[in-house]
Symmetry: none
Subunit: 195 residues, 4 copies
C-alpha cells in the first residue's frame, strides 16, 4: 500500500537510468548486465548490491512506469464530466505512448511479462489499474448518458488502450502513418462511444 518509505540510493537511480538507455537501444535480452553497469559507470559487482539481478532491474522499471500512470488514473477517477475526462485522457495518453521511450519500454515489458512471472506480476498490476480507471470512467459516462452503454466496459477500455499503444508503437518505425492518424483515432473512439 505504502510507497518505499526508505529513500532510494542515488546509485540505484543511476543504474535504472542506464538500464533504460540500454533496453531502449538494444532491447532487454540483447542487453547484458555488464552493459548496464558500464553505462551507469558502476562496477559489475556493485550493481548486484542494488539489484538482485537483471530481471529485478526490469521489474523496477516497470514499477516506475506504473507510477507514471497515476496521473492518468487520477484524471479518470470520479470525474465531474466523464466525456471531457476521457477526451483529455485520450490526448494525454496518446502523447505519452507516442514518446519512443515509453512505447519501446512498454512493449519490452509486455513481452517479458508473457513468460516471466516476476515481470508479469508488476505489469499485470499496473495494467489492471489503468484498465479499471478507464472502464470506470466509461461506466460513469454511460450512467450520465454521455456514452453508449456497453456490457463489458473493461473490454472497451482495453480496446482504447490497445489502439493508442499500437499507434505509439507504429510511430517508431519508418513506415509511418499519417500525422493526423491520431486525430482519426480520437474521432473514431468518440464516435463509437456516442450514444
Amino acid at each position: 500500500m505504502s510507497k518505499d518509505p526508505q529513500p532510494i540510493h542515488p546509485r540505484k537511480i543511476e543504474i535504472v537510468h542506464a538500464a533504460v538507455t540500454c533496453f531502449l537501444e538494444r532491447g532487454y535480452h540483447q542487453t547484458g548486465v555488464r552493459d548496464i553497469a558500464k553505462q551507469a559507470g558502476v562496477s559489475l559487482g556493485n550493481l548486484y548490491n542494488h539489484f538482485k539481478g537483471k530481471e529485478a532491474v526490469l521489474a523496477f522499471i516497470a514499477e516506475i512506469e506504473g507510477e507514471e500512470l497515476s496521473e492518468f488514473i487520477d484524471l479518470l477517477t470520479e470525474p465531474d464530466n466523464p466525456q471531457e475526462a476521457l477526451e483529455r485522457f485520450i490526448d494525454d495518453y496518446a502523447a505519452y505512448v507516442s514518446r519512443p521511450e515509453n512505447a519501446l519500454l512498454g512493449v519490452e515489458i509486455l513481452t517479458e511479462a508473457l513468460r516471466n512471472p516476476m515481470i508479469a506480476e508488476v505489469f499485470g498490476r499496473n495494467r489492471s489499474r489503468l484498465i479499471d480507471a478507464v472502464a470506470s470512467c466509461l461506466r460513469e459516462g454511460s450512467k450520465s448518458g454521455s456514452f453508449t452503454s456497453y456490457d463489458d466496459e473493461r473490454a472497451v477500455a482495453c480496446m482504447i488502450l490497445d489502439s493508442m499503444e499500437g499507434h505509439g508503437l507504429r510511430s517508431l518505425s519508418k513506415n509511418n502513418i499519417g500525422e493526423n492518424a491520431m486525430r482519426t483515432l480520437h474521432a473514431f473512439l468518440l464516435n463509437g462511444l456516442e450514444p
Copy 2:
C-alpha cells in the same frame, strides 16, 4: 507475386515447426539454436544447411505467417458487400489472433522487428498488406454508404487490427477478460463505423 519455384525441403519444414514450438514455449531470445535442432530431431550442423542462422528461421516463420494472411486479405478485397466482409473479417481474424500460437508468435515477431532489420522487412511487408486490405474495404464501405467516412482509413484499419490483436494477447494471460469481450469489441467497432 510468384512463390518459391523450387520445392521446400521437407526437413526445412520440420525445423520451422520445431522452431515455432520452441519460440512459443520459451520465446525467441530464450530459445537456442540447439534447442530448435533437438526439437526437430536434426543435427545442429544440418540446421545450418537449411537456414543461414537463427534469425533466418524467424524470418521464414514471419514469411509463412504472411501467407496465412492471404485468406483474410482475399476476404476484404473487392467485396460485394463491404460491411458484411468486414464483419466476417473481424470474426475470423479475432479467432485467428485468439489462438495462442498466433498471438505469441505475432508479438515475438513484432518486437524482434523493432530492432532487427531482416525481420522488420518481412514483418513490415506483411503488415502493410493487411492494413491496406482493411483500409480499402473501409473506403469501399464509405463510398457505398455502409460506413462513416474517415480521413485516414489506414489509421482506422490499424486501430481495428491493434484492438483485436491486443485482445488475442490478453487472452494468453490468466487475468483473463470476460468471454464476451470479443463481442463487445465487435459491437464497438461497428458502432464506430456506423454512418
Copy 3:
C-alpha cells in the same frame, strides 16, 4: 621417380586452382573445404572424390610448387659457368619469389610443414632438391675458382635462398623496401662469394 603416369582429371586441376586462390586470400587454416568447393564450382562431396581431404589438397599444391623448381635446378646443375649460372639463378628465383602467390603459398606450406608430417614430407623433399642444386653450383664454382670456398656450401645455399625468399615475403607488406633492394642483395651475395 616417375611422374603421374595417369592423366589428371581436369576437375582436380580446377579444384587445385580454386584452393590456391583461397589459400592466398585467406590462408590455409582460414580456408574451409566448402570455400574451395564453392570457388571451384564443385560440390563438396565431389571434392572428396578427387582429394582425400583438405591437407591432401595442400600437399598436391606443394608437389606442383616442387615441379616449378625444376627449371631452377636445371639451371644450376652441371653449369658450364657456375658464376654465370648462379647469377642467372639469383635473378630468376628473385623474380619467382617476388610474385605474391609464390611468396604467400611458400610461407603457408612452410609453416604447415612445421607440424604436419604429410606436408613436411613434400616440402622437405622439394627444399632439399633446391638446396642441393645451389650447393653443388657453389661447389663447382669454388673448384673452378669463381667462388670462395666454404666449408658448408649447403649453409651458404640456404642463406641465399632465405634472403631471397625473405625479400619476396617483405614485398607483400606495405612497409615496402626500396626498389633496388634486390639489386643490393644480389651485390652482397656475389661480394660474399668473391674469392
Copy 4:
C-alpha cells in the same frame, strides 16, 4: 616510449605463458582458446577478462617478443666499434633465433601478420626497429671504413636477419643442417661486408 604505467595482472602473465606453450605445441590456429585457459589453469570466461580475444593474446606475445629485441637494438645503437657490435649481434641473435620457442613463435607471428592487421601492426613495428638498428650499425661501419658501403643498408640488414632466422627455423626440422652451418653463415656475412 613509456611502457604500461599500470602493473600487469599476474594472471595475465600466466595466460600468456600458457598461450606460448600451446602455440608452440600446436600452432596458433590449431590452438583453441579453451586449450589456453586449461593450460593456464584459468576459467574460460576469466581469460576474456584479461584479453579481448584470442588474437589479443597473440598480439600481446608479439609485444613481449618486441621487448626482447631491445637488448639487441641497444647492442647495435651508437656502437664504439660497429664491426665488433655487428659480430656480437650476429652471434647473440643467432643464439636467440635458434631457440625453438623463438623460431616457432616468430614464424607463427609472421604468418599471422600477413593477414591479420592487429598482429601486423605489432609485428611491423618490432621488425622496423630491429632492421633500423642493424642498418644504422652498417651505416656507421661503412662510414668508419669497417664495412663496404651499400646503397641500401636496410636491404642488407633484412638479408642478415632473414638468413639467421631461416637458419633458426631450419634447426627445428629433422633435416638438420650441419652444426657449423652457423659459423659458415657468420663468415659469409662478414665476408660480404668486408671492404
